[in-house]
Amino acid sequence: MSLLCIENLSLAIHGTSILKGVSLEIAEGEITALTGESGSGKSMTAFATMGLLPKGTVASGAIAFNGTDMLTLSEPQMCDLRGREIGMVFQEPMTALNPVQTIGAQVMETMLIHKAMAPEHAEERAREVLDRVGLPIDRFPLSRYPHELSGGQRQRVVIAMAIALRPRLLIADEPTTALDVTTQAQILDLLKRLVKEDGMALMMITHDLAVVSDMADTLNVMRHGEIVEAGPTAKVLREMRHPYTRHLFEASRHQADLGAAKAAAPLLSVQNVSRDYPLPRESLFGARPMFKAVRNVSFDIRRGERVGLVGESGCGKSTLTRAILGLEPTQSGKITLDGDPVWQDGHPNLTVRRKMQVVFQDPYGSFNPRHRVSRLITEPFHLLPDPPRHAARNTAIAEALIAVGLKPEDADRHIHAFSGGQRQRIAIARALIIKPDLIVFDEAVSALDVRVRAQILDLMADLSRAYGLTYLFISHDLSVVRSITDRVMVMRAGEIVEDRPTADLFTAPDHPYTRDLMNAAPQLPDFPEAQDAPQPAL
């Protein structure tokens, strides 16, 4: 019999239907994945299993854990199950730990709250568990606080808390989405190892098909609160009976058609740029040590060239971006656009700034919710000495909106009326409206679902062909950069370790770090050519 058996589960929050007849089973020692886009109901399925649904939720159906229907259990009974029989790991390790308690106290709490052992033994066990998740006691004593650890290390602490009492079921909700690829690979390996060693069941929630294909035994594809396709992972990915599964899969490996670059004279020139930040003093009156965020970086971007900048968090790519945009001065080196310095006499150079625009990562946070689209996308006009007015302004708005695939009528609406993908189109329209020489895309598609991401990448390729754009595309994800750049720079610890044409870099990476990045990124299996291939024995 399966350990967890969800039957015909339906949820509604204040009358809005969230899940519609979801059924799935997970056996011990098995990894089951739930995948789908945001809003498909995968996280709600997990929270229903944990009994941690928001107020006002009405549930029907059954969630049988080890034969008991958990929907009928009281809150104290559920508290007893949580942490002891069912553990959970969350998406955002940076905020999932209490900042004012030591990691030891937080891991021990799992044991103590269930009165599983005496405090002395709990401390012993906490050491063991932290060691087991790869935080050895000599480097990570129990007295450490979360802010002293990196994102990957914090996620290990969260996993340690979840597995401290050897639960029979572990639920991991996007456990690696916020992490760099190399860290992601380590955390996924850790989860696989724990499942194998403890015979735990793992419910893995992820939007990333590549992660799933690598690790899950069974796969459930969710859409609009329903499971549209389910089965052994290899079989589902080979057959893809439901068109939605196929859409997801194709979007995940989408390659935009960029067209050839019309590379000409250099536009942006970065020469020997360095940027240091002071760190906290180590001793009371000692000198402040400096952190070299960017070390002696040089490169050119030619007019019409599409360049990618890839690196993990903390590698200096954001610092470099701020310097290029003239938001911060540099300590040494020179950045010029079309021959003019971006920073002059202690001030950003406004004539240069109006030739650059930027598109940010978060389509939700980067717009003022009180303004209409027409005002939002004409904001860059204030940079111009003589901005277009009246009819010319309206024409410019309409042109920009049409260029990004929206309608001129959308100018009168407010930003909340648009989805994440549409908002990112509006952000691109805002960048295009003053016809800048250079656009910086700062993780511009990282927050989007795969299908929306594919559309935005296509849009960028279209615009690039139509307008001959020059852009710098910054991302932590190598695979995204592949289809929409002519050249890729790989950055590590403040230095550019590899700078080559995209095609060359992906066929034969030179630098060991680039190879590490590529190997760490989960790969989708090849697209099935034959639909009627023999089914695997699973």
Partner: protein, 315 residues
């Protein structure tokens, strides 16, 4: 942690120096003659001249500043012009009323606000929360002198549990002194408690939405356990800030309540000194209050570091 304390101490000393220069500058160096100001427009020229000598106004400004600061450091605050008694003694007498009153009121307001704020936050949107929020609206809106008069009417005149005013001094025993301060402390504490309750409630509600609260629930903590073990300490930072501000206010801002209850406190002293143009007293009391505010802020800073380990390592 040691580095943090030293940094705070340096900032404390700097603030005190700046404050003393500003207070000295405003009172002594500003246009007009302090002596003729203190004596009023009808004063005889020889009286003004005598006072000038007495105040040391014939010395250079730097000398006067240094002797003023030096005097305060050794406990010599000068002599009151109106009362002809040492200012240090006057302040010390009043301090024995104002400091206990402020601490008493602060303790009461904290004792009311913490449970009320936690109660309301744990029941967001429910009747209990609405009742507490409504009560805090009322507490902020009611003028405290009116509330003080109601307290006198009910508990002193009707029920005769407390005296209507005055302070017997601490010589009559601790409890007699506390009893005399009870009604004023309640009158002072009520609006402070209302404000503190609202801060506590909103701060806790912010924390309850944090990811780590969900993590705590996933470990098996009940909603109540999660609130007490993980929510409260994280919610304390804004609450501590308000407590620090309130203490500084209570120490000197109790003028009206001191008047209602005929209490010989610092508020009344400074009020009288201003009406009598006794600049020496004003200067000293203001400096003392500035010192108290800066000290309280220093203690609040230390409390932050105790509550939040992230601050201990930050520069």
């Amino acid at each position: 942690m040691l580095g943090y304390i030293v940094k705070r101490l340096i900032s404390l000393a700097m603030s005190l120096i700046v404050a003393s220069v500003v207070i000295f500058g405003v009172v002594e160096v500003a246009p007009g003659d302090p002596a003729s100001f203190m004596l009023g427009i009808n004063a005889q020229p020889d009286t003004v001249a005598a006072l000038r000598t007495e105040l040391g106004l014939d010395q250079s400004k730097l000398d006067r500043y240094l002797s003023w600061v030096g005097g305060m450091l050794t406990g010599d605050f000068g002599t009151s012009y109106t009362y002809r008694t040492p200012v240090a003694q006057m302040i010390a007498d009043r301090m024995w009323v104002s400091l206990p009153l402020a601490l008493y009121a602060l303790t009461l307001s904290t004792l009311i606000a913490f449970p009320a704020g936690i109660f309301a936050a744990a029941r967001r949107g429910e009747p209990g929360d609405l009742a507490v929020t409504g009560a805090t609206q009322l507490g902020v809106a009611i003028p405290n002198f009116w509330f003080a008069m109601m307290l006198v009417l009910i508990f002193a005149i009707q029920l005769r549990w407390f005296s209507a005013g005055g302070f017997p001094g601490w010589d009559g025993g601790f409890w007699a002194g506390m009893k005399a301060l009870t009604l004023p402390a309640i009158a002072l504490a009520l609006p402070q408690a209302a404000i503190l309750t609202r801060v506590m409630r909103s701060s806790l509600l912010d924390i309850l939405g944090e990811d780590f609260m969900r993590t705590a629930r996933a470990k098996g903590l009940s909603a109540r356990q999660a609130l007490w073990r993980h929510g409260l300490r994280n919610a304390l930072i804004p609450v501590l800030t308000i407590i620090g501000l309130q203490f500084a206010f209570l120490l000197a801002g109790a003028i009206i309540i001191e008047q209602v209850f005929f209490l010989p406190g610092l508020g009344r002293l400074i009020f009288q000194a201003i009406t009598q143009r006794d600049l020496i007293v004003v200067e000293s009391v203001v400096m003392l209050l500035v010192f108290a505010v800066i000290m309280v802020n220093f203690l609040v800073d230390l409390a932050y570091a105790v509550v939040d380990p992230r601050l201990r390592t930050r520069v």
